[in-house]
């Protein structure tokens, strides 16, 4: 037991928590005013639903001892049964913090991941179905993949895939899941015909700031202790975000002559995503490169998505999915601290990373697609057309963003 580690991870948990409200403002500001509360509602309800399910079953499936082939955990921790509040975690990473703390720190990861998936539901969700969807998704998609990567005996971990803070589990996963949902749910009414401008840029910037500070804790805290790995992870996180945000802004400037702040915010987000799996394994110069490179990658994927007919409205696929892929691969290229990679003479690590990417993306896409289509057929993932035109704030929540 190390008290300082508890102190740090306690606070990091709180800071990762604030990412989800941050996302609510980030996403909400990007939508039309008439459905802004609805987007925030999806984020806030994710907090509530995921937390309760995590307590009952999610944590157990992800982190209790493996029940077969490294695919999923068992039921040992159902209802947190068997986790005493003063048990110290005797796990793979650390024995310095109570398992309870590890559990709640991990919970915050699960929450933000689930909230990101609100992207393809934007402005057209059947809110009741959304609650059911995320419940299934947590159990059938998130918990298994978390187990693969972080669980004791998880197959990706055993294979040697590197993922410091969740690039695979969180970002690639949620990116491809969002794409699957977008295909099932279909575009918003009037998509590409009516204007759908972002309604509140300051909210987007507020959200960016909250996500950013939370990410220090997300990546830094993944060291699970107050040590120099946490520090380097934090700095790498920051540097990649800065580089990516700046480069994105410059790309936009070259293209349209404007210093877009939505661009800077999106770029910073892409940088934060990309550096996540590498953050504790690399030196700052590599974080800088990761950040610089992720901007054109995600700018391209976002542009492609934009031109397509797929209304993956808030671009979780383009930013989290592809930022995550680049990050996973970059980890295989640049890892030097506590791990080996291409530049330390282990080019095979890149392939290991790619396997992780492909399997995660495929699993996430396919299973999410199935879940979505089943729910869509049974109760419908979408609101009615009239509700959509009136705006979900009034029709679904009985509220007006600014009256």
């Amino acid at each position: 037991m190390a008290e300082a580690d508890i102190a740090l991870i306690f606070v990091c948990t709180a800071l990762v928590f604030i990412m989800t409200p941050g996302l609510a403002f980030f996403y909400g500001g990007l939508l039309r005013k008439k459905s802004m509360i609805n987007m925030m509602a999806m984020c806030f309800v994710s907090i509530a639903v995921v937390s309760v399910l995590w307590f009952f079953i999610g944590y157990s499936l992800a982190f209790s001892p493996d029940v077969g082939g490294g695919f999923i955990g068992g039921f040992d921790y159902i209802g947190l049964y068997g986790i005493k509040y003063d048990d110290y975690f005797v796990g793979i990473y650390t024995d310095a913090i109570p398992q309870m703390l590890y559990m709640v720190f991990q919970l915050m990861f699960a929450i933000i991941t689930v909230a990101i998936i609100a992207s393809p539901f934007a402005e057209r969700v059947n809110f009741g179905a959304f609650i059911i969807f995320i419940s299934c998704w947590l159990i059938l998609v998130y918990s298994p993949i978390a187990h693969w990567v972080w669980g004791e005996g998880g197959w990706l971990r055993v294979m040697g895939a590197l993922d410091f803070a969740g690039g695979t589990v969180v970002h690639i996963n949620v990116g491809f899941a969002s794409l699957a949902v977008a295909l099932v749910i279909g575009p918003r009414k009037g998509y590409k015909k009516e204007p759908m401008e972002p309604s509140n840029v300051p909210y987007v910037l507020l959200g960016t700031a909250l996500l950013w500070i939370g990410w220090f804790a997300f990546n830094g805290g993944s060291a699970l202790g107050a040590n120099d790995t946490a520090v380097i992870a934090m700095f790498n996180t920051h540097l990649a975000a800065c580089a990516a945000g700046f480069v994105w802004m410059i790309i936009e400037y070259v293209r349209s002559g404007k210093f877009s702040m939505l661009g800077l915010a999106t770029g910073a987000l892409a940088g934060l995503v990309a550096v996540t799996p590498a953050s504790g394994f690399i030196e700052p110069w590599a974080a800088l490169i990761i950040g610089v490179v992720v901007a054109p990658i995600c700018y391209t994927t976002l542009t492609i998505r934009n031109r397509s007919k797929i209304d993956e409205s808030l671009d979780a696929w383009a930013v989290h999915g592809w930022g995550g892929i680049w990050g996973a691969i970059a980890t295989g290229i640049f890892a030097t601290i506590g791990a080996t990679s291409a530049i330390t003479g282990n080019p095979g690590q890149i392939w290991t990373q790619i396997v992780g990417v492909i399997v995660t993306a495929a699993y996430s896409f396919i299973v999410t697609f199935v879940i979505a289509i089943v729910i869509h057929k049974l109760i419908g993932l979408r609101s009615t057309e009239e509700e959509e035109y009136i705006g979900l704030d009034i029709s679904c929540h009985g509220e007006i963003a600014q009256g």
């Binding site: 204007p195 401008e197 999106t266 976002l302």
Partner: protein, 113 residues
Amino acid sequence: MKKLECYVRPEKLEPIKKGLFELGIKGMSISNVKGHGSQRGIKLVGRAGEYCVEWIEKLKLEIIIKDNGQLDEIINCIIENAKTGKPGDGKIFIIPVEDAIRIRTNEKGESCL
């Protein structure tokens, strides 16, 4: 009495106001509108790439004035101060007004303008 409804660029409000004051016109009301016309729309930037906003923010200026010879002078004053020469400068419409009442004093007619 006449009512002038002027759709102008928001950034021109101050010069127009100053001009009208110099003519002795003090009563007026403004509101925010969005307009559509020969101006093509402005380009804004999203997360990646531009898009065009068709509805452009304009200011609507409403002035009720006496029906005397000053009308042309006032219109010219507004035109002068609102003009940039580029599409989107806006328009002035003249609408008849039958009567006016000042709530504070119950006065009626031109005297209350």
